[in-house]
């Protein structure tokens, strides 16, 4: 705490919670986990300062960046900002198209409708059975997207 803050009136836990947008429970939780300093003083006279508010904001920011609380506690207060964790898209869906052939769709990708999937599956089966030329000659895709690719 610097000299300036020393004269400022102490905040109650409720005021600190209000200021930082967290619940009282969270403030207490942070204190107990050593994520922020304990209140200044004890009993009725105890309270919090602007520095506590800054500490809470830092914890929230690091948490949003994906850092687990246990690591935040270990981090020196003046540590350089941590580069955001690279998150790979999560695999969300696997559909069988033919024996041993699966379609995988990533998070965020829109799932094609059942009819499209059905045609995709049929095309795959045809290609795999070496029947592709016939399949495409007889049953051309009506949207023409794979025109010309039918002859293998």
């Amino acid at each position: 705490m610097n000299a300036e803050d020393a004269d400022a009136p102490l905040l109650t836990i409720g005021q600190l919670a209000e200021q930082t947008g967290v619940s009282r429970r969270t403030v207490r939780y942070y204190v107990q986990r050593g994520l922020i300093d304990p209140p200044v003083g004890r009993g009725r006279g105890s309270g919090y300062t602007a520095q506590h508010a800054a500490q809470i904001q830092r914890v929230i920011r690091l948490q949003r960046e994906g850092l687990p609380l246990e690591n935040i506690a270990e981090l020196p207060a003046d540590a350089a900002p941590i580069p955001p964790v690279v998150v790979q898209p999560q695999l969300i869906m696997r559909l069988p198209l033919a024996d041993g052939v699966r379609l995988e769709l990533d998070a965020g990708a829109s799932v094609p409708d059942a009819k499209t999937l059905d045609r995709l599956a049929e095309a795959c089966r045809a290609i795999l059975s070496g029947d592709a030329a016939n399949e495409f000659n007889h049953r051309p895709f009506d949207d023409g997207h794979i025109d010309g690719e039918g002859t293998v």
Binding site: I13, G14, G21, V22, S23, R24, R25, T26, R28, Y29, Y30, Q32, R33, G34, P38, R42, G43, R44, S46, Q63, R64, G66, L67, P68, L69, E70, A73, E74, V85, V86, V87, Q88, P89, Q90, L91, I92, M93, R94, L95, P96, L97, R102, V111, D113, A114, L117, D118, L120, A121
Partner: protein, 801 residues
């Protein structure tokens, strides 16, 4: 777990301040009165604050809280959640004794026992009322005892209030906790009790006529699995209307109905089976899921279509789209199901639910979703929200599987879609439950369920959106009656066979002086509000959004003095100034790892010698949310785990919960995280003994027989039929010859006749398990041309056995 140790929560030789838990159940008629007592003792030299998260039944209406400390008895009161915390926190800061209980989820509660002075003891007592689960002539009591590690998606964990996250993911120990459980049940039935059984625990039972006393046997019983008690009565349950006085003299009524809907028949449906294949399902749970699934598949009929979705941190469908139910699709699905493992990592239930919400049944058949899960997710609210969307064209019939299932999630999803839930403890038979679920699906034909209150005026009906009626299941609705007169209330519905009307007699003249009915009514109304709202109630973010729903919950909860997402119980023990000179240190009470969770226990037994003692696993998750089960899937995607196996140490082996047992540091399951990882769990694999059912050969003779039934209902003349019938082969061959025509067809007819006769002869006492199978076989038989009448052939089959 470093943070846990740094906080001095558990390790480092600190005694766990919780010394024991005692649960007393008094049940009669339709409701149970439960008291949970927790004894805390501070054996340290500093004041402590003990924080213990524990489960209760999701329907529990918690209406009492008192604390016994230093010879005094302090009665707690219900306050708005944040206000209660303020009172607690202020009392703590001033050195008073402070006690708080929060509801973190409808089935997860946290007790904070503040400023427990050195050598001081406190007993915290919570009491609640709950509806009994009743079907036809049976009653089931399920009391959870521990909080299973649950999977919380990364984005959800990041947005959650850290204090709340901490509550729903308490520190978990696999080596047993140093506090034990005492549990007793006193049950008074309205008629003779025919049978009583406790599949979960060794228990002593005293049964005399209409009453039964059950008590857990042995000392130091771990709180590591649900307590389950099944009671069968000599008679079926009767409809009733229980009237009691509400606080202000107004009458509250609880109307119970057990409709007979056995005449309803199910039409063709599209079935989507969703199977939880996350790591926590490892071991017996996935085995049970496989068996239930195989059995369910055999209960389908020609004309139905189906698909199977397995989910973990990804999900996969068995067929590109739902396929028609036929012998070939049944064979293909059975083969694939037999190879299913719990190897898909985390529990992203939301993704497949969202997928289903966005897709309609192609053939416009009514959609039935059969969900098999342990329900251990932390984003219940979001799942329920999607389920509410699904309700427009689908119903979920949930199966909660395992020793410590999340009752709230499985029931909640079923409730939100007008479906029903069943729970399968590992020591229970699956068949009757699967059959019961399938017979419930016939209720899809019912619409427009209403209550006709006659001349009565009501100002509160709970639930406002009436649930579905199911054959033999309890249907309950509560009402606050503010005027009018009637001696009969009726539940009505429209069915394909015409309008249905179920009258229930009501006597308003002598209201009982029973607080249970109004309290249950309030809880039901609150439950509907909590689930209807769908937000993350209990989190700081939504707490600030004061809206009509929350105020209504608060109003009801304060008025009826019960716990809810918006209210907590608080009690303060005033102490003289100067009693306490230093701030209390936090002691988070660890909970026992759910028995069989992710096959941990089985793996310990198998691989004890191979594993180093006290080996510690480092969770392989560089990023993620706070608390225990971190957001595995995304992290796992960028950091494939090297050895994501919770190292089973000897500390993990089930040990007695003796008073002196000091949980070993190494047993703290930081490694639980590994189970939610993508990598195939070697432990789960090792733990999976090559059981008979795994090899495709069910151990249960009934299951063995019924699994040879074909999609069309007929039976192949297989070894299992021949073996079960013990019939003379010559007689069978003669019959086949006599039937004539196509030989294969004649064999099937003979075999089907024999199978039906075996079911009657050997499994008469398990009729509820095979009735549907027999009906399907009969329907197939009726379509066959038999030279003599079918009756003659049936008596031939009987005589051939």
């Amino acid at each position: 777990m470093k943070n846990v140790e740094a906080g001095g929560l558990f390790a480092g030789g600190k005694r766990v301040p919780l010394r024991g838990v005692s649960i007393d159940v008094k049940a009669s008629g339709v409701a149970g009165q439960v008291t949970v007592a927790q004894r805390y003792c501070n054996e340290e030299k500093v004041p402590v604050e003990a924080v213990y998260s524990f489960p209760l039944q999701e329907s529990a209406a918690v209406s009492g809280f008192e604390v016994e400390i230093g010879g005094r008895r302090i009665v707690g009161k219900v306050e708005e959640r944040e206000k209660a915390f303020e009172q607690y926190d202020d009392a703590m800061a001033q050195g008073h004794g402070a006690f708080l209980v929060d509801q973190d989820r409808p089935n997860i509660f946290t007790a904070s026992v503040g400023n427990l002075l050195p050598q001081q003891e406190a007993i915290v007592r919570l009491s609640y009322v709950t509806e009994l689960e009743q079907t036809k002539d049976s009653i089931r009591l399920l009391i959870p005892t521990t909080i299973s590690p649950r999977y919380i998606p990364a984005d959800v964990a990041r947005e959650m209030d850290p204090a709340e996250l901490d509550h729903v993911t308490p520190p978990t120990v696999a080596g047993g906790v140093p506090y034990g459980l005492k549990l007793s049940v006193d049950f008074q039935a309205p008629c003779e009790i025919a049978e009583i059984s406790c599949p979960s625990h060794p228990a002593s039972t005293r049964l005399s006529g209409r009453s039964a006393q059950v008590e857990l046997m042995g000392s130091n019983i771990q709180l590591d699995q649900d307590f389950v008690l099944n009671i069968t009565l000599a008679q079926s349950h009767q409809a009733s209307a229980i009237v009691a006085r509400d606080g202000d003299g107004v009458r509250a009524a609880m109307i119970n109905l057990f409709p007979d809907l056995s005449s309803l028949k199910r039409g063709p449906c599209e079935f989507i089976f969703i199977v939880d294949r996350s790591g926590s399902m490892g071991g017996t749970s996935i085995q049970q899921a496989r068996n239930a699934l195989l059995l369910a598949l055999r209960s389908l009929e020609e004309g139905d279509s189906f698909n199977v979705i397995g989910f973990g941190d990804s999900y996969e469908t068995m067929f590109t789209k739902s396929v028609a139910y036929s012998q070939s699709t049944l064979d293909e699905a059975s083969k694939k199901i037999a190879g299913m493992d719990a190897n898909l990592g985390g529990t992203e239930l939301l993704a497949p639910l969202n997928f289903l919400a966005g897709s309609r049944a192609e053939s416009n058949l009514p959609r039935q979703i059969v969900l098999l899960t342990d329900g251990q997710v932390g984003n219940e609210a979001q799942c329920l929200e999607v389920a509410a969307k699904l309700a427009a064209n689908a119903r979920i019939f949930g199966f909660g599987i395992g020793h410590g299932v999340s009752e709230h999630l499985v029931r909640g999803l079923s409730r939100a879609t007008n479906g029903q839930a069943e729970f399968i403890h590992p020591n229970e038979r699956i068949e009757p439950k699967v059959m019961r679920q399938f017979s419930r699906m016939a209720s899809g034909a019912l619409t427009n369920v209403r209550v006709d209150f006659g001349g009565l005026k009501t100002d509160l009906v709970a639930p406002a959106q009436l649930p579905q009626l199911f054959d033999g299941d309890r249907f309950t609705v509560y009402a606050r009656i503010v005027g009018g007169a009637a001696n009969e209330i009726a539940i009505t519905a429209d069915s394909p066979n015409g309008a249905l009307r179920f009258p229930v007699k009501i006597d308003l003249e002598k209201p009982a002086d029973d607080r249970a009915v109004p309290v249950l009514m309030a809880r039901k109304a609150i439950q509907e509000l909590e689930e209807g709202r769908g937000g993350l109630l209990g989190s700081a973010q939504s707490n600030r959004k004061e809206n009509a729903t929350r105020s209504r919950i608060l109003e009801l909860a304060v008025r009826y003095q019960i716990m809810s997402s918006a209210t907590s119980f608080v009690a303060v023990e005033e102490r003289q100034a100067g009693t306490q000179t230093q701030a209390a240190e936090l002691r988070r009470v660890p909970v026992a790892l759910t028995k069989g969770w992710g096959a941990v226990e089985e793996s310990c037994d198998l691989s004890l010698q191979a594993m180093p003692r006290m080996a510690k696993m480092k969770a392989a998750f560089p990023a993620g949310g706070a608390g225990m089960p971190p957001p595995a899937p995304r992290a796992a995607a960028c950091a494939p785990m090297q050895a994501p196996i919770p190292a089973p140490s000897s500390a993990m082996k089930f040990e007695s919960a003796s008073e002196s047992a000091e949980p070993a540091e190494g047993s703290m399951l930081s490694s639980i995280t590994g189970f939610f990882g993508r990598a195939k769990s070697a432990v789960a694999g090792a733990a999976m003994p090559a059981t008979a059912d795994r090899a495709g050969e069910p151990a249960d003779p009934l299951l063995k027989l019924t699994s040879s039934q074909r999609a069309d209902g007929s039976f192949d003349l297989s070894a299992s039929v021949l073996e079960a019938s013990k019939a003379n082969r010559k007689k069978i061959d003669a019959a086949i010859k006599q039937l004539g025509g196509d030989k294969a067809q004649a064999e099937r007819i003979t075999s089907t006749l024999l199978a039906l006769a075996v079911l009657e002869r050997d499994f008469a006492d398990r009729r509820d398990e095979w009735k549907m199978i027999a009906d399907k076989a009969e329907r197939w038989l009726s379509k066959q041309k038999l030279p003599a009448g079918a009756a003659d052939w049936k008596s031939w089959a009987k005589s051939a056995l």
